[in-house]
Symmetry: C2
Subunit: 288 residues, 2 copies
């Protein structure tokens, strides 16, 4: 996995503009936000799903980098004072504190098209129909029916108490849609059949939900020196969370259920899905 | 032209999500920002350039709507308190005042992928290679080497005095890149030859520059009841402008030069370019 992580890092570095010219400050902020560490879970999901279908490594790495560029933009904007007002991200000052608010907004605004550009470029080496399908999938995961829609509901959730079903919808949009696209990207590149694609979608759904339940856990019980962000904020603002609604024990039971269910969905891939199962364990057992 | 304007309005309405569901507020803000009037100059440019090459009307309308969605997002973010802090846009409260800052940021964030999605969708009816080329052109006009880069330089320009060359670079990125793409979109759809594409690029460059000089004029001398935004702000913040550097007379001379030069570039298209010449007059002679 370390080899893949290095390849993703190198691709991100190549895709990002170098910090020069009159808009150098913008480029610096983009690089700061993207190259500042992070788990790289989403590119790993692209990589592992692509591997199931024998996709060329370079094609998987490019798509993984595009997903990570989009994820990095969303973190910058989520952290803004008018949004979650977060001071710490990946153990460092968030982008609007390291630079300033206007620069942070612009850095996110410029990372978003860079993600689609990476997929649409003719030098990508996959055919135009697949490039369009990837762009389409990523825009849908990003837009009003995906990440932005989820963040809108999340902002309103601070003024009302959501039910478990409502939180599940919220998180399905806010974090689930991009995780689902990450898994689907490998299937698109690998021209997967309907059955395999549906199995991957089921796995992505369970993993996305488990990811968010674990995130709530870490926000409530995690060590900020390990997580790299300040915890307890959900409670401070009175936000309903999975852990708050299910209780600590109930949340652990749910995580175990999701682990079994997601794992079973991979059975049709046999031994080839070992790394996908490891990613599932990583998401559920992580401490940051 | 009224028929085209109506077709663009209808296409924007179809592409935008209806205001329903738990994220209805986001959809409302997107619709408010896009459907709130505006000159629709960029879609008109797509339309007229596409018409030069006999492109099907529906294909031109879709591309024009995509460009307008991107333009609308950029206006929302430009108006934010940490950016230009503008209270009035198209004669109405700017999006962050009509809604709130977080919702306005999200509305912009969601309009951007909607623009690319409109171009990448298989129901667009143009082949995948062209759809990729359109997505690519629009992402480049939007990103760090286009609009976002220009806005970064513009923000910094409030703390330093720019030369005429520097302002020309700034505006070439901030407004010129998207205007250039609008003209190029017609050429892409029409599979135009090198010579014709270069002529259009020259026209777009001149028109973009004229557009900005006229904007500076209207900011300084225009009537806010007609322009729909508060004027005089450039002077207030001590920002260098074309009018400030060239003087009122010099700016008028420059506009005349650009009109002649842009017009001459259209000569290779003969009588077919009449509407493009009218758009040039519209840009230079407008009062809002």
């Amino acid at each position: 996995m370390a080899v893949v992580a290095d390849a993703i890092e190198a691709e991100l570095d190549r895709l990002l503009p170098v910090a020069s010219g009159p808009q150098a400050r913008l480029h610096e902020a983009m690089r700061y936000a993207v190259l500042g560490g992070g788990k790289r879970l989403r590119p790993m999901l692209v990589w592992t799903s692509a591997e199931l279908f024998g996709v060329a490594p370079a094609a998987a790495i490019r798509a993984g980098a595009a997903v990570e560029l989009l994820h990095a933009y969303s973190l910058i904007h989520d952290d803004l004072p008018s949004m979650d007002d977060a001071a710490l991200r990946r153990g460092r000052p968030s982008c609007h504190l390291a630079f300033d608010e206007a620069t942070a907004i612009l850095a996110g605004d410029a990372l978003q098209p860079l993600a689609y550009e990476a997929l649409a470029r003719p030098d990508y080496g996959v055919d135009a129909a697949q490039r369009c399908e990837l762009v389409l999938g990523l825009t849908r995961a990003a837009g009003a029916a995906g990440m932005c829609g989820g963040q809108m509901i999340d902002l309103q959730a601070q003024r009302q108490t959501l039910s478990l079903d409502e939180i599940t919808v919220l998180q399905g949009l806010k974090t689930g849609a991009l995780i689902a696209f990450a898994c689907d990207a490998g299937a698109i590149l690998g021209r997967a059949g309907e059955v395999e694609r549906a199995a991957l979608a089921g796995y992505a759904h369970d993993l996305g939900l488990a990811f968010q339940i674990k995130d709530d856990f870490l926000d409530r019980f995690g060590d900020s020196a390990v997580t790299g962000k300040h915890g307890g904020r959900d409670q401070d603002v009175g936000k309903a969370t999975f852990v708050g609604l299910l209780g600590e024990h109930g949340a652990r039971v749910k995580l175990d259920e999701l682990r079994s269910q997601a794992s079973a969905r991979l059975d049709i891939f046999g031994a080839r899905s070992m790394v996908m199962r490891q990613l599932l364990d990583f998401v559920i057992d992580r401490q940051s």
